[in-house]
Amino acid sequence: MFGFYKTTVGKKIVVASTGVVLFLFVLGHMAGNLKAFMGFNAASGRYKLDEYGEFLRTMGHEVMGNYTALWIVRVVLLLCLLLHLITIVQLQYQKQRARPIGYAKREYDCATYAARSMFLGGLLLLIFIVYHLLHLTTGTLHFRGFEEGAVYSNVVTAFNQPLIVAGYLVAMLILSMHLFHGVWSMFQTLGLDTPQRNKLLRTIAAAASVIIGLGFASVPIAVASGFLNLGQG
């Protein structure tokens, strides 16, 4: 088992597998965010997004009470993120070690900027994730009347500030780029690529990165443009 992790290929497979988990999370998160557009539930008197948040906190409560399932998911995600990160740092070290002297002149034929900036992009995303958790999960850095459980209003008050919207948009661009190469790389590393499937897989990766990027960006843009507001209607 540890022999597997020792090789570069084994490490890559670990990065790809944890990448799959993180990708699925991001996809689900994005889909959940779109609940912001579903507005207000007149029957319950709450925003649909808030109900969704409630659902996440209480899922599995019949068996294990509130928050347990959510924490299980959180722990799994955190472990995946840590593994993803640690492995990448090790690989990054091996990469740099493999070419101690670089070229005086270098041309790229197909290594996209997205691919070449994976490590830097990943680090920026890590910073963003920490900020994002403090901003909209714990509210520590919200500063505009953060209210536990009132997800929708927290979001709207947060994104009424253009600087924060801009920051989020940049982060989403970075995420999108990370996924553009990451998802394709995941297919390749897990051995799913074949000459027949290559085009399809690359298209899926590109589509996923665009859809997720736009999906996430839609909420701050909608708030900033006034399309989403604290109206109940």
Binding site: I13, K95, A98, A104, K105, Q188, L190, G191, T194
Partner: protein, 258 residues
């Protein structure tokens, strides 16, 4: 044609090395890139200066000896072409041309543009073969190979071991080389008995040589003079994953048996 060359000169592996500029005033567009360096070398030799060291042998694009990064690209600007088959008509009159050795920790510079690619041989020695004793082979047609498998194996087997993939990879990874070698044998029925062990041994050998990890840029595929596809890397990954699972399962069985 006139060209301005900037060639990496390094006396030996312990020398620091640096670029030296040479101006060539009478280059024929019909010369190959190596012939152009030949001409430069004859000029240097006539002056009693040491010629530029570079690997070359067959000069028809198959032995894989020639190895230089020309203007930032392994084997130069023409696709599917080794440096020995690259001709000066692909360059502009008056152009500045930068010539550097393959750069990788696993390929230390021996002299000027010559690097030591023994690491590739050691990867093959670790398992890049089918164990068959001389004289013990069965009748050739008793092993039938479906044409698509044979063709695909041939695609992988066309690797000339030049190392352009390593040179072009931003990570200095040898995955395309290793993948081509592993896949060639993995695609054929003859290669099945040792398939799982082979991929493990060859990847371990590749790592021992301190090649970098693959991050799926695809630069290797673009630089490969034989156009070997990175789909073979995917196949290698698949085989490695499979072989690791087999190993874990076998390990578990062993524990049970005890």
């Amino acid at each position: 044609m006139k060209i301005k060359l900037h060639i990496w000169r390094q006396k030996n592996s312990s020398d620091k090395g640096g670029f030296v500029r040479y101006e060539m005033n009478d280059v024929s567009p019909d010369m190959s890139f190596l012939e152009m360096i030949d001409v430069l070398n004859e000029q240097l030799e006539a002056k009693g200066e040491e010629p530029v060291g570079f690997e070359h042998d067959c000069r028809e694009g198959i032995c894989g000896a020639c190895s230089m990064v020309i203007n930032g690209r392994a084997h130069g600007p023409q696709a599917l072409t080794t440096a020995c088959q690259l001709h000066m008509r692909k360059f502009k009159d008056g152009e500045d041309i930068w010539v550097e050795p393959w750069r990788a920790r696993a390929f230390p510079v021996v002299k000027d543009l010559i690097v030591d690619r023994g690491a590739f041989d050691r990867i093959i020695q670790a398992g890049g073969y089918i164990s068959v004793r001389s004289g013990s082979a069965p009748e050739a047609n008793s092993i039938l190979v479906p044409k698509p498998a044979a063709d695909s194996a041939m695609d992988a087997a066309s690797c000339i071991g030049c190392g352009a993939c390593v040179a072009a990879c931003p990570n200095g990874s040898a995955m395309l080389f290793t993948a081509a070698k592993v896949s060639h044998l993995a695609l054929l029925p003859q290669g099945q008995p040792e398939r799982m062990l082979r991929v493990q041994k060859m990847i371990e050998a590749m790592d021992r040589e301190m090649f970098g990890p693959c991050t799926n840029y695809g630069e290797c595929q673009e630089a490969c003079p034989k156009g070997i596809s990175i789909s073979f890397i995917s196949m290698l990954n698949r085989d490695y994953l499979k072989s690791s699972l087999v190993q874990i399962k076998k390990g578990a069985e062993k524990v049970q048996a005890q």
